[in-house]
Amino acid sequence: MREVFFMIFSIFTVLAALGVVVSRHAIFSAFSLVLAFFGLAILYLLWGTSFVSMLQILIYTGAIVVLFVFVVMLLDLKKEETLDSAKTGPLVMAGLSVWFFSLLILRALNRATYFKSTNVEAASDIKSISTLLFSKYLWGFEILSVFLLALIVSACVLARAEYMERKADQ
């Protein structure tokens, strides 16, 4: 059962990711991205990490990609479509080198001890994750929260630059 689902959804995810890359219009890229993230969430679920899976949907699909869609819709991108075409030479070169690169990475990964170990399922329930998060990684967590605060401010400033300039002029 798990195996079948894994196969279906890994193929689904990869196809969706392909859709992100090859879609001519950014809105379809965004749509494919939603699908890809959804597929990933299901892969996480198959691994038994339901918490991470839900976070994936909640944050990635529910918030980040919505932002992308928003921006795509805000900007009038119709005329971008003609610009967005690559020449064959670089395309083939990029494909080859990326393929080679991932091959090498896979080699490296397969050498790592983690990937030689048999299936030792980690404690993936929320309790153990949060215990770890609030003890060993507390500082990381706190730094991240400060970082997020800075981010909120900077995003506001970036998004409202024009508005603020106007306000400063008055």
């Binding site: 080198s97 690169f101 080699r107 490296a108």
Partner: protein, 632 residues
């Protein structure tokens, strides 16, 4: 606990300086001044506690932090509170606090008082580093710190180009002395392998195998440093010019504390000078010459602060004579008494200048005893003290110096005679100053008024000090009180055996008092009956009047001998050496790098995709190298 006190004594003024400089930038003179005075007062309190601790337990407080460790040099931020420091830190913080308080009144119309008080506090801190430093480099830090503060404060009114120039002059001339000081430090490190006072002293005391010639050289260079800081011939010209600064600065830095740093240095290194007879003779000779020379100039000056400045130079000469003849404790004694009465005189001058709205010419004063009652009384005490009238402080310390010049290890009759003449001149010019300012009729056109309590209180305190501190160092010959100061200092500075001389101590005192009275009498003869006219007439009787008025043309001489050739050399360097040699050498690599950069600019195309291409290529190469064996 004591370590903490020692550190806080040094750091509290620094803290005050930082607070004033950073936080109270818009503060009124009263606010900034109160903060600065509080800092100084706390520092004084700490000094008192430390002093009490030292006197009751005899325990020397040491604080050490690692500073740098290079090869054989193991340098610490070492601070040390011993006998000399007891004396110096009390003088510095005590008189410093009084002058801080005085400044609140004196600077009451300043637009940027925070600057003044920040510098003043910084000076206090630097001076305390100087006197508590346990090794020469730490002392040098304080030494440069006080030099910096002196420069900043002389040029405090930097809008006036003359005052800014005076600051610059002080700084540059001090650099000459500092160069000597540094060379001295290097030589001492070469000789001893350490620069710590205690270690050096142990080596000098313990072994006779040291090369006296090199020691003498080192001592000589240290003395060059002292010459610069303490305004001895030939590096004295900056001190009179330094009077451009606010008067409290002149009182604190250029009379009471900083200029005595040279004396302190020589006294601290007394163990070294003790074994360097040639340098000691040199020191004494320079001191005696300076004392005479400056005193003679002071007799013809009309600027109230210039008179006091030359008087300071002259008094410093007295101290160096004491150092030169080997009577280190006596020199320090005079440092202390001089700090009191000279600070008092300067503050009195400050009160008068403040009350006359900036008038500094003594010929335009007169009759001020009616307008400045407190100043008049306190100044009378100070003048009597500096003239050497018993039983005021100046009498004991100056007499001790004069007597030491006769009987000290390196002393002799000619020094005694020189100092006696200088004492005569001192009594003359101080009385002249006194009579011109306070007697006769008022000759100016301002509305004289005395300052507030902030200015009066320090005057009174200093007057009391000037009157009584002399009893701490009562000469042995009188058998009235023990010589507390000698008892205090003997463990730290070399003592001395009085040589047999043609005068006993009592006889010497009688002679000194007679000399002082003679000086006063001459001044009274010339200036008391009709100050206005006599100042113009009397000195003109002497042919040397013009010479004295122009201060022996020393500044002009220096201008011709040093400044002009140096300017020429600088011009040559600026026009030829700098652009052709140094710039070329510096610019060549930069041009080379720029050329190489131009070749590689295509890499920075601005296109992030291109950057990713480069990253990808690099990643491929790295991975390929790492996994070569596995893939093929």
């Amino acid at each position: 606990m004591m370590e903490f006190l020692l550190l806080s004594m040094i750091l509290i003024p620094l803290l005050g300086s930082i607070l004033n400089g950073l936080l109270l930038r818009s503060g009124s003179p009263a606010r900034t001044g109160t903060l600065a005075s509080t800092a100084a007062g706390l520092s004084f309190l700490a000094a008192l506690l430390l002093c009490w601790n030292y006197l009751s337990t005899g325990q020397i407080v040491n604080v050490n932090f690692e500073w740098l460790r290079v090869g054989g040099l193991n340098l610490a931020w070492g601070f040390r509170f011993d006998a000399i420091t007891v004396l110096m830190s009390l003088v510095v913080t005590g008189i410093g606090t009084l002058i801080h308080i005085f400044s609140i009144g004196y600077m009451d119309e300043e637009p940027t008082p925070y600057r003044f008080f920040a510098y003043l506090n910084l000076f206090l801190s630097a001076m305390l580093i100087l006197v508590t430093g346990a090794n020469l480099p730490v002392m040098f830090v304080g030494w440069e710190g006080v030099g910096l503060c002196s420069y900043l404060l002389i040029g405090y009114w930097y809008e006036d180009i003359k005052k800014a120039d005076a600051g610059m002059k002080a700084f540059v001339i001090n650099r000459i002395g500092d160069a000597g000081f540094l060379i001295g430090i290097f030589m001492l490190f070469q000789i001893f392998g350490t620069v710590d006072f205690e270690s050096m002293k142990l080596i000098v005391d313990g072994s006779g195998s040291l090369n006296v010639r090199w020691l003498q050289f080192a001592a000589f260079f240290l003395f060059v440093g002292a010459m610069g800081k303490s305004a001895q011939i030939p590096l004295f010209t900056w001190l009179p010019d330094a009077m451009a600064g606010p008067t409290p600065v002149s009182a604190l830095i250029h009379a009471a504390t900083m200029v005595t740093a040279g004396v302190y240095l020589v006294a601290r290194m007394g163990f070294l000078f003790r074994v360097s007879p040639d340098v000691s003779h040199f020191v004494a000779t320079i001191g005696c010459a300076t004392a005479l020379f400056a005193a003679s100039i002071a007799t013809a000056q009309r600027d109230i602060k210039k008179i006091l400045a030359y008087s300071t130079v002259s008094q410093l000469g007295f101290m160096f004579v004491a150092l030169g003849v080997g009577a280190y404790s006596v020199a320090l004694f005079h440092v202390m008494t001089h700090a009191f009465f000279k600070a008092l005189l300067f503050l009195a001058a400050g009160t008068i200048i403040h009350g006359l709205h900036g008038e500094q010419d003594v010929c335009k004063m007169g009759g001020l005893r009616k307008h400045f009652p407190v100043t008049f009384i306190t100044t009378s005490i100070a003048v009597a003290a500096i003239c050497g009238l018993p039983p005021l402080s100046g009498f004991f310390s100056k007499d001790a110096i004069v007597f030491a010049a006769l009987t000290g290890p390196y002393g002799g009759p000619y020094l005694w005679a020189g100092l006696s003449l200088a004492s005569l001149l001192t009594a003359f010019y101080m009385s002249r100053f006194y009579f011109l300012v306070f007697f006769g009729e008022y000759r100016g056109n301002a509305h004289p008024h005395e300052g507030g309590w902030a200015m009066k209180l320090p005057l009174m305190d200093l007057a009391i000090g000037s009157a009584v501190v002399g009893f701490l160092g009562m000469p042995h010959g009188l058998h009235v009180l023990p010589n507390y100061l000698d008892q205090l200092l003997v463990p730290t500075v070399p003592g001395w055996e009085e040589a047999h001389a043609f005068l006993t101590e009592i006889q010497s005192m009688v002679v000194a008092v007679a000399v002082a009275l003679t000086g006063i009498a001459i001044a009274a003869f010339f200036y008391l009956p009709n100050p206005a006219r006599s100042d113009k007439a009397a000195p003109k009787l002497l042919a040397i009047d013009t010479i004295l008025k122009n201060k022996y043309w020393v500044d002009e001489l220096y201008e011709v001998v040093f400044v002009v050739p140096f300017r020429f050399l600088s011009g040559v360097a600026a026009r030829i050496i700098d652009p052709r040699v140094i710039d070329a050498a510096v610019l060549f690599p930069s041009r080379l790098a720029r050329a190489g950069g131009t070749l590689l600019t295509f890499i920075q195309s601005g296109s992030s995709q291109f950057y990713l291409w480069i990253m990808l290529t690099g990643g491929l190469l790295v991975l390929w190298q790492a996994l070569k064996g596995l893939i093929v």
